[in-house]
Every structure is written in structure tokens, then in C-alpha cells.
Symmetry: C2
Subunit: 175 residues, 2 copies
């Protein structure tokens, strides 16, 4: 079985979460399988090695694979968190959701001009948060080296929102 | 410099966060140092190797070091999250805070009877969440193999609350 099939078999489909009509892709069984997780870390690392100066992981499931991949490549890992969670001075970016809005932040001293930063999250859904993360990076003079996701919900067309970076999106499985 | 000194030098002290009078230990500069992070993962792994069947990481900074340590040791990583975040059936535990209460959860099918589970978080403060995590584990028939923290705020005496497990607490730096 290839990696994609192994991930697909490990993911649990949970109906009606977080709300009715949504089939949630639960990655927790992947995390409970250390061999599979090790191979996922290797695969992400192989895909971006040499092309990226830092990885920015989106709270909180983006911390899971983002951090070990950064450690393996010997590059910094940067936290992107919801407003109010980071203790030091931050830059923030507000964006619209289906209902209401959200705001994400990054510490001010993490990105140096021209730094090539990969945005990592576990899931690409509508792409709103990923776009906001890219804005945070460019706002500080960094360049967006691409995006990586464990799972892409292709039917939600999040990749459309990231079309500026269309050749730089890695999703290990897509539905 | 030994590992403890390197961690201590990397941590940033942020005054008055999350509220006035508190000196916050900011670990984000540690995450931006891949060599240091790799050595921390090795150290945590060496301290628990052979003694632990699974690691449970507390949302969200407990995901950072907890997951790569589990992957390195070839054991499952289990998410402990705030109420409402896990998609599948959960067991939960409610506990008191200084003001109000909090509730944490774990998926029901993660712990098998007798499983030795280590609880990991970035910081041991008053110990309330760590105790609640241990309750979640024993409630399901697991045994608490110990606790690991990157940072312990010893003056808050969290270890007192964990005294049942006093010989099984690993903190890499202590203040």
C-alpha cells in the first residue's frame, strides 16, 4: 500500500461534526500510528527540502506534523495562533468566515526579509485561514514558499483561493 | 553548555502575560531553534524509553514536543483537548480553576486497559490540567506512567498536586 492509501485507511470519517451534514475527517488515528506518522514526516520533508527557510504551523493541529518536519530539516518552526494566545508583540491579520470573522497572529520577530516560509496545516478546507497566514508572512517581508496539508477537501475548492501559489501546494490525501 | 542552560537561554521572559504581575515563559524561540529542539526530543525520548506505551499531549503546546517524541519511540500519540474539539465519542473530565472551571476530553477508544500513558505538556504551572489528564487516563483503565514538561514553574508547586507520581515527573528546566 502506498502512503496515500495508508493515510486514507487510517482517517476516521465522523458524520455531523462540527455541525449536521458535515463528514469530518478525523486524523487522530493517524497520530496513534507511529510508523505511519514517521513516514508522513519523511514525505513532507522530502517534498520541501532545500526550498524552504522556515515552516509556519497553524494552531493547533498544524503544530503536529509541522514541527517535526521543521526539526528534521533543521529549520525554524513558527507558531500561527488565534488572537491573544502569543505572549510577545505580534502582527495580526483579520479575515472573514462564513459567519463572522477570525484573527490570527504571529510574533513580530520571527520572519526576516526574503525568508521563504511554508504554511502548514492538517487540513485544507475553504482556504480562508491559509490565505490569512500567507498575508501575515508577506506583511512582514517574507515570501510564501508554499503550503502543505495532510488532507485536502478538494470539493470545497480551497486551492482556488491559493491559486497565486497553485504549483506550491502539497496535500498528501485529497477528497 | 548543557541542555538545561541552552533551553533557559532560549526562553523569552514576557512580563505581564496573560495578566499583570505574571512573568510568562515564552518557548517560541526554542521552536525556532531546530538543533535545540532536536536535542530536547532526544532527551525526552531517552528519559522514558521502554517505560511508556503511549504519550498523551495536552492542547495545544503539549502537541509540539509530545508528538515527535512518540514518533521517535514508535508509540501512539493521543490528543487531550478542550471540550468540544474532538470529533468522535469522548470521555471528559471537569476540574476547577482559580476562577471557574475547565473541561478536557480524550477519544474513548484510545486507551486500552493497563496501558502505561505519559502525560506531556510544555509547562507545569499549578498542575490542575495535569491532574485532570491523569484522571482521564485512569478513568479508562490506563495507568499513568508519569509526566513530562519542558518547563516547570516550581514556585507554583504544581508537583505537589502530582505527588502520587512524584518520582515520575520529568521537567527539563525549572524556575
Amino acid at each position: 500500500m502506498d502512503l496515500k492509501q495508508r493515510i486514507d485507511q487510517a482517517i476516521r470519517n465522523v458524520p455531523d461534526f462540527p455541525k449536521e451534514g458535515i463528514m469530518f475527517k478525523d486524523i487522530t488515528p493517524v497520530l496513534e500510528n507511529a510508523d505511519l506518522s514517521a513516514d508522513i514526516i519523511k514525505e513532507f520533508a522530502a517534498k520541501i527540502e532545500g526550498k524552504v527557510d522556515a515552516i509556519a504551523g497553524i494552531e493547533s493541529r498544524g503544530f503536529l506534523f509541522g514541527f517535526p518536519v521543521a526539526v528534521q530539516l533543521g529549520i525554524p518552526f513558527i507558531l500561527i495562533r488565534k488572537k491573544g494566545k502569543l505572549p510577545y508583540k505580534t502582527v495580526s491579520h483579520k479575515y472573514d468566515l462564513e459567519y463572522g470573522s477570525a484573527e490570527i497572529e504571529m510574533h513580530v520577530d520571527t520572519i526576516t526579509p526574503g525568508m521563504k516560509v511554508l504554511v502548514h496545516d492538517d487540513l485544507l478546507a475553504t482556504g480562508g485561514t491559509a490565505v490569512a497566514a500567507s498575508e501575515l508572512i508577506t506583511k512582514q517581508g517574507g515570501s510564501v514558499a508554499g503550503f502543505s496539508f495532510l488532507v485536502e477537501l478538494a470539493f470545497l475548492e480551497g486551492a482556488e483561493k491559493l491559486k497565486l501559489y497553485s504549483d506550491k501546494i502539497t496535500s498528501l490525501v485529497s477528497y
